[in-house]
Amino acid sequence: MGLLTLSSPHTHGPNSTSKVMATVILATLPGLAVITVLFGWGTFINVLLASATAIASEAAILSIRKRPLAFFLKDNTALLTGVLIGLALPPFAPFWITLVATAFAIVFAKQLYGGMGNNPFNPAMVGYALVLVSFPVQMTTSWALSTQMSGQATLGFADTLQVIFSGTASLADGFSGATPLDAYKHLIAKGTADSVLAEATFNGWLNGGWEWVNLAFLAGGLVLIWRRIISWHIPLAMLVSLSLCSLMLGWDEDMYTPLSLHLLSGATMLGAFFIATDPVSASTTPRGKLIYGAGIGILLYVIRTWGAYPDAVAFAVLLMNFAAPFIDAYTQPRTYGHAKAKRGLPPKQR
C-alpha cells in the first residue's frame, strides 16, 4: 500500500468559479427584490430575459469555438453577466435593447477575447455602454417611477410585459419618468435645492425609492465582503473618492447634486460592489485596487457632473478597465524573501 505524501499547503478552496458566481448572483437578489417591489416588474423581466440571452449566446459561441459546452456554462459567469445587464437596464426598456446589450456583451466583449478570464473589459458594462450610446431615447425615457414618486401603484405584470415586448410604450405613461440624478442635474440649473426637491421625482426621496435599492445592493455587497468573495478595497476606495469629490467640488446643493444623491441614487452601490469588483477586468493587487476604485469614483463624479449622461458607472468602469493592467504593473507587492518589489514592465516589454 502506497501512502501518498502530499506537500503543503494542505488547505483546499471551497470556492470554485461556479460557486463564487452563484454567490454573487444570490447577493444581487435583495436589490432585485427591492426594485421589483418599489418600481414594478420591469427589471425582473429584464433580468430573466438577459440571463436567457446570455446563456444562449454563450452556448452558441462556445459551440462555434468547439469548446465543451457544459463545462463553461456551469461556471455561471455568463449568467452573472446577464443578471447584471438586466439590473442595469431601465425597467421599461424594449426587449430588443436587452437582447442587443447581452448578446454583444457575451459575443464581442467576452468570447471574442478568448472567453472566461480573458476579457479586458467588463462584459456587462460593454453591453450596457453599447446600448446607452446607440439608443439614447429609449435608454433615458424607459425608467420606472416608484410608487412614492408617481403616487400610484406600479404597472402590473401583464402590462409591463406588453410594454417591453410589444412596444406599446403608451401603457407606461405616468409610470415612467426621469431618474433623480437626471432630474436634479437639469432642474438645479434653474432653481435651488429646495425647489428641486419639491418636484414630484423627489416625492419619495429617502422615503421609498432609489435609496432603498442602493441600500439593498450595499447589503448584498457587504455579504460578498463577509464571504470573502470580494475585498473591501475597490468599493471603499470608490465610495470614498466619490464622496470626497462631491464634498470638495460640489458642496453647494444649489449648484450641484448633493452627496446623498450621489451615494444613494443611480447605480452607485451596484457599481461599487458588483460591477467594479469583477475579478477579471479589475486591478488585482491590493494597492492597485485602491487606485482603481478611486479612479472609478473620480470619473463617476466628473462624468455625472460635467458630462452629458446622468449616470456614469459603465463609462467610469470601462475607462479604469483600460488602466488596470498598467496599475497592476506598478503596484506589485513585495514578495516575501525579496528585498524590493518588482514593479513596472518586465525588461523585454519596454
Binding site: 464581442f108 450610446v133 446607440s134 439608443f135 439614447p136 429609449q138
Partner: protein, 237 residues
C-alpha cells in the same frame, strides 16, 4: 525586381495584399465615410481615379526622378490628381462632394496611394503599374462598399439609400427598406462601428485564407514512401 504576371498583380491588389484588409492603409477615410453604400462608393471611385492616375504618371517618370526627391515628386503628382478628382466631383456630383467633405482632399494623404507609388509604380513599367493601381483601388473600393453596406443595414435598417447622389435622379428609388420602423443603431452609424465591422471583415478574410491553405495542403501529392536514390556524383549545382 522580378516582374510579376498581370494576374498575380491583380490577385495581390484584390486579395493577398488588399490595401484595406491586409496593409491596413487608408484607414482614416475607410472608417470615417463608410456610413452608407453611396458614400463608400463615391470615395472609392475618387480614390481609384487618383491611384490609377498617380501610378501611371509615377511609372512614366520613374527613370527621370532622382531617388532623393522622389517622395516630394510623388506627392505633387498625387495632389494634382486629387485636385482633379475633387473638381470632377464638384462638377458632376456636387451633393456627394458636400457629404464627403474634407475626405476628398484628404485622399492626398491616403498612404495606400503613396505606398503603391513608392513600392510598385516607381519600379515597374506603365502597364503593370496601371493594372496594380486599378486592382488595388478596386480592392479598397470593394471593402469600402461592403463596410458601407454592413453599417447602413445595421445602423438604419436600409440599403442603397441616397444613391441619386451618384447615379442621378433615376436612382432615388433604389433604396430598400429591410426593416420597418428600425430604431437607429447609433453605434453602427458612428465610426466605432466601422472599427468593429472592419475587425469582422479581417477575421473573415483570415478564416477564408486558413481554409484555402488547409485545402492546398490536403491536395498536395502525398510523400512517397520508401527510400529514393539521390545523385551524388558529378557536378551538383
Amino acid at each position: 525586381m522580378a516582374t510579376k504576371s498581370l494576374r498575380d498583380i491583380s490577385l495581390d491588389g484584390l486579395w493577398h495584399n488588399n490595401p484595406a484588409l491586409v496593409q491596413l492603409l487608408g484607414l482614416c477615410p475607410l472608417l470615417a465615410v463608410t456610413g452608407s453604400v453611396v458614400n463608400a462608393l463615391g470615395l472609392g471611385l475618387a480614390t481609384m481615379m487618383v491611384l490609377v492616375g498617380s501610378n501611371f504618371s509615377v511609372s512614366l517618370i520613374r527613370n527621370h526622378v532622382p531617388d532623393a526627391v522622389r517622395l516630394p515628386a510623388f506627392v505633387m503628382i498625387i495632389a494634382s490628381f486629387t485636385t482633379v478628382a475633387e473638381l470632377v466631383m464638384q462638377a458632376f456630383t456636387y451633393e456627394l462632394y458636400e457629404v464627403l467633405g474634407i475626405f476628398i482632399p484628404l485622399i492626398v494623404t491616403n498612404c495606400a496611394i503613396l505606398g503603391r507609388a513608392d513600392a510598385f509604380a516607381c519600379k515597374n513599367p506603365i502597364i503593370p503599374s496601371v493594372v496594380d493601381g486599378f486592382t488595388m483601388a478596386l480592392g479598397f473600393t470593394i471593402v469600402l462598399i461592403i463596410l458601407g453596406a454592413m453599417r447602413e443595414i445595421l445602423g438604419q435598417g436600409v440599403i442603397f439609400s441616397d444613391m441619386q447622389l451618384l447615379f442621378g435622379p433615376a436612382a432615388a428609388n433604389w433604396k430598400i427598406e429591410l426593416v420597418k420602423d428600425y430604431p437607429d443603431f447609433l453605434f453602427a452609424i458612428l465610426p466605432p462601428g466601422a472599427f468593429m465591422a472592419m475587425g469582422l471583415l479581417i477575421a473573415l478574410k483570415n478564416i477564408i485564407d486558413n481554409k484555402l491553405k488547409e485545402k492546398a495542403e490536403a491536395q498536395k501529392a502525398p510523400v512517397e514512401a520508401g527510400t529514393k536514390r539521390v545523385r551524388v556524383t558529378g557536378k551538383i549545382s
